[in-house]
């Protein structure tokens, strides 16, 4: 499910989305660090090897959006641009405001070790085992009301598409 800022100019969307994602990424890291001068030189102190019997993992609980929406400044509102995708993975906003939604998931990984069965199960718990649509959907909002009035399959029968780039104009 995607959200957009109503009344915001569509050209600003990618930048806003990028800022939002970057903020999330930074919030996930915790650089308590030490003296940065120790990180250079011939003998930087390396962390000790940690071996686990069961590695400490925490699986985020999968929850639907429901009625919860991000808090936004006065005069703006957040609503779903489109829903009902098959594992949407990445977005690309074209210069004319059209949005390409890449519906994709990785191919089923090989099971090389018994651990991989457990890994698959944990991945499934985290909601990442859903089948990808293997296609790119195009959303077009012709009247600028923030609700796309055209939704078409742009490319179909792909094999785990990942990135999208616009070549030429």
């Amino acid at each position: 499910m995607m959200h957009t800022l109503r009344n915001a100019r569509l050209t600003k969307l990618p930048r806003l989305a990028a800022l939002f994602v970057a903020g999330l990424g930074l919030a996930g890291c915790n650089y308590e660090g030490g003296d940065p001068r120790k990180e250079i030189g011939a003998n930087p102190p390396l962390p000790a090897l940690q071996q686990y019997l069961v590695p400490p993992i925490q699986v985020a609980k999968v929850a639907a959006w429901g009625k919860d929406v991000p808090t936004v400044p006065e005069g703006l509102q957040v609503h779903a641009l489109a829903t009902g995708f098959e594992h949407p993975r990445s977005l690309y906003v074209l210069p004319n405001g059209d949005v390409l939604v890449v519906e994709s998931n990785g191919p089923k990984p090989l099971i090389n070790r018994p651990k991989d069965i457990v890994t698959d199960w944990v991945t499934w718990l985290a909601g990442a085992a859903a089948k990808g649509g293997n296609r790119i959907t195009l959303l077009r909002d012709t009247n600028g009301d923030g609700i796309p009035d055209q939704r078409t399959v742009f490319l179909d029968h792909l094999n785990s598409p990942f990135g999208v780039a616009l070549v030429g104009k």
């Binding site: 090897l49 071996q51 019997l53 070790r113 018994p114 651990k115």
Partner: protein
């Protein structure tokens, strides 16, 4: 002379008394499954030694699959054993030392499976290799002790 013959006859009766009660239909299933798991664990020790000497990740994967297969067989053996117990099969005296020794070996093998699930060389060397060897040592000792106890029991010492 007469007395000697009587004793021999008595010990024959003792044997004849044990056998039909314990083995009405050949070997119990759990015992067959235990043999399978022991073979898998021994195989894991071999592939561990090979990996230690020749670090090709294929051998490490052999090891973890062998340990896993041994654990699955051990689980099936436990189920079969419980069914045998519930079915009222007579458990002879050396069964408990054997069961305890086997349980220790299986717990060690379970730890070994987690150690073998680590990534890279340290999945085997040195902890995994030592655990694999320990499992085999415990299994061999258990078999020896069980056999000694069984013989003592049969001889009536």
């Amino acid at each position: 002379m007469q007395q000697h013959a009587t004793i021999r006859e008595a010990s024959f009766i003792g044997d004849a008394d044990l056998r039909p009660a314990r083995r009405p239909r050949g070997r119990p299933i759990h015992s067959i499954l235990v043999s399978f798991s022991a073979a898998y664990f021994a195989g894991a020790l071999v592939t561990d030694i090979v990996y230690w000497q020749m670090p090709d990740v294929m051998w490490e994967r052999f090891s973890i699959w062998l340990v896993t297969a041994g654990l699955i067989m051990a689980g099936l053996a436990t189920v079969a054993y419980v069914i045998d117990l519930a079915g009222g099969r007579r458990i002879d005296r050396p069964a408990w030392p054997r069961a305890i020794g086997y349980a220790i070996a299986v717990l060690l093998a379970l730890t070994n499976a987690f150690v073998h699930s680590r990534d890279g060389y340290t999945a085997v060397v040195p902890t995994g290799l030592m655990l694999s060897a320990l499992v085999v040592v415990v299994l061999v000792l258990t078999a020896l002790v069980a056999r000694a106890l069984k013989n003592r029991h049969r001889l009536g010492v």
